[in-house]
Amino acid sequence: MQPDAGARRRRAIAALALAALVLTLFPPLQWWLADGDKAVTLAYFLLSGLFVVGSVVAIARLDEADEPTEDER
């Protein structure tokens, strides 16, 4: 285990959360992608949602090293 592994995990978690925020909340991206084209608009909503779901899973994996699981027993 590298001594800065915890810091790298925290940065990765913050980056995932930030990416999820930008993808779902950044208005210019939405004006560009949800502009009347059926396929592009639906793809935006489906893929951005999938990205956030994947981010939650990834954050959970990154967090496993720091969060004890005793309460699950």
Binding site: Q2, L25, Q30, A34, T41, G49, V53, V56, E72
Partner: protein
């Protein structure tokens, strides 16, 4: 016969819920107020998942949220990103909320804020805002059952009569909420959640597949259906952002949502519940919006978009209508019960308890509060029963109000410096701003590109919080008390050499 199928299906669901609740009461113990409000902080991840999902998505998802998508197109997706971002926030909240809750026997959201700021005023103001903003959702829940029992009667019962049936069903369900408190909510949510959000999602995708193969695809719809309001639009280019932002920040401010964090066994359980809830929220939400948009071409939907769920199901026959109705009833029961229980507990713990000047230990105070709130909501539901199409507007107004807890809640949990004075002044300023603007401009504030009253209130609220905190910092003794609170959140790492304080990168900012 069709009505027997429809109402019989609801009766079967009700019986299954009561059976599960009564089984869970075996070997039960007399409960004190903490047990009544938090279920003893004892539930595992799957119960926590279904409790969260059942509380997060109300029954009116099938009615007014689907109706918005059927009438206005892809803007109806807005609840999907805010729900998923709320799950991300769930990770960040899990450890501090659960650790403080367990160490200090916290029972409600307002209780937590009272502890964080060491202030009765903050606690009472937060409790009152939570109760006032949540109350419209009780009415929404009861009214969404009005539509259910109208459709399940297949033309034999009109809305003015169905409202009484809906209220009777909700009130009957509350017998177990009153008796069992949070434990009854979580156990009931497992049954209701499986029906509404597992079976419901399967039904959604089944109906969507049928629509897409039966001439009701997206090709029949114009580009306006697939367009979000942009620059130069009548709605305003920031309207969609405002809806999502208010949803994600306001979401965790609901007392019933927040208190679910107290019912889980621990932080790891809450985080595992978040992982399990995310795909379920996504599949259900996306499927429902796609179904509503595709179903907007079915005859009758344009005239009554709120009924799209039942109109599409009706194309497949009475059994499918019955199944559709059962999903709405299950979702509504979960949401209304959780809301009532949380508001009752909050009224007892943070209003009655504070007024009396002593901590509430008797569960009966909460039971009485739940019963009174239920009767009051029923009276409002009856008096507004003929205004189903206004449900989303009512929901948005209450979101504008509840979101005003967000700066006090999130900055209080993640920033050590926030003070009681800042919290009190900012909540009052934000709520007053949002309420006044919402009354004057129900859709969005003119000249602000679609920004809603709730977001303007939030901006004022957050600015006041930070400015007051910086101008009037907490005295040394209070800073040391808050430091001890935050230090208690530090996670004991499984990998000591790389252990960051606070786990998850959530070490509170000094």
């Amino acid at each position: 016969m069709d009505m027997v199928i429809g109402y019989g299906a609801v009766a079967l669901l009700f019986a299954a819920i009561v059976f599960a609740l009564e089984r869970s009461r075996r070997g039960g113990r007399d409960q004190d107020f903490s047990e009544y409000a938090t279920a003893g902080r004892s539930f595992g991840s799957w119960f926590s998942t279904m409790a969260f999902v059942n509380t997060w998505y109300p029954g009116t998802m099938f009615v007014s949220f689907a109706g918005l998508a059927a009438a206005s197109g892809v803007i109806g997706f807005y609840f999907v990103p805010y729900s998923l971002l709320a799950v991300v926030l769930m990770f960040f909240l899990a450890r501090p909320v659960h650790v403080w809750g367990k160490q200090h026997d916290l029972r409600t959201q307002a209780d937590l804020l009272g502890l964080r700021y060491d202030s009765r005023t903050v606690r009472v103001v937060a409790a009152v805002i939570g109760i006032v903003a949540s109350f419209p959702w009780l009415i929404l829940g009861m009214q969404s059952l009005t539509l259910v029992f109208t459709y399940l009667s297949f033309g034999r019962v009109d809305a003015s009569d169905a409202v009484y049936i809906g209220i009777a069903v909700v009130v009957a369900r509350q017998i177990w909420t009153v008796r069992m408190g949070a434990r009854g909510i979580v156990v009931g949510d497992m049954v209701q959640g499986v029906v509404a959000y597992l079976f419901g999602t399967l039904l959604i995708f089944g109906l969507l597949a049928w629509l897409l193969t039966d001439g009701h695809g997206f090709d029949q719809l114009g580009p306006d259906v697939f367009t979000l309001p942009g620059p130069g639009s009548a709605t305003g280019s920031l309207y969609y952002l405002s809806l999502v932002l208010t949803g994600v920040l306001g979401g965790w401010c609901w007392p019933d949502i927040f208190v679910r964090l107290f019912a889980s066994r621990g932080p790891a359980t809450i985080k595992r519940a978040a992982v399990q809830a995310a795909p379920l929220l996504f599949l259900f939400g996306v499927g429902l919006v796609l179904l509503a948009i595709a179903g907007s071409t079915v005859e009758g939907v344009r005239a009554a978009p709120d009924a799209v769920w039942f109109i599409v199901a009706g194309e497949a026959g009475p059994l499918v209508v019955a199944a559709a109705g059962v999903c709405v009833v299950a979702a509504t029961m979960g949401n209304v019960s959780a809301n009532l229980q949380a508001l009752g507990a909050q009224t007892a713990n943070d209003v009655v308890g504070v007024v009396r000047g002593r901590r509430v230990e008797d569960a009966r105070v909460g039971q009485v509060a739940v019963a009174l709130l239920c009767l009051l909501a029923a009276a409002f539901a009856v008096s507004t029963a003929q205004k189903v199409s206004g449900l989303v507007e009512l929901a948005m107004i209450s979101y504008a109000g509840i979101a005003q807890l967000a700066p006090t809640l999130f900055l209080g949990i993640f920033w050590r410096r926030g003070t009681a004075l800042a919290a009190t002044v900012s909540m009052v300023a934000g709520f007053a701003t949002a309420a006044w603007l919402q009354w004057r401009h129900p859709t969005s504030v003119p000249g602000l590109e679609g920004v809603t009253a709730g977001v303007v209130g939030l901006a004022v609220n957050a600015a006041v919080y930070v400015v007051v905190t910086l101008l009037r910092p907490a005295p040394r003794a209070e800073r040391e008390r808050v430091d001890r609170l935050f230090d208690a959140v530090a996670a004991p790492s499984r990998q000591a050499t790389a252990a960051p304080r606070g786990g998850l990168g959530l070490e509170p900012v000094a």
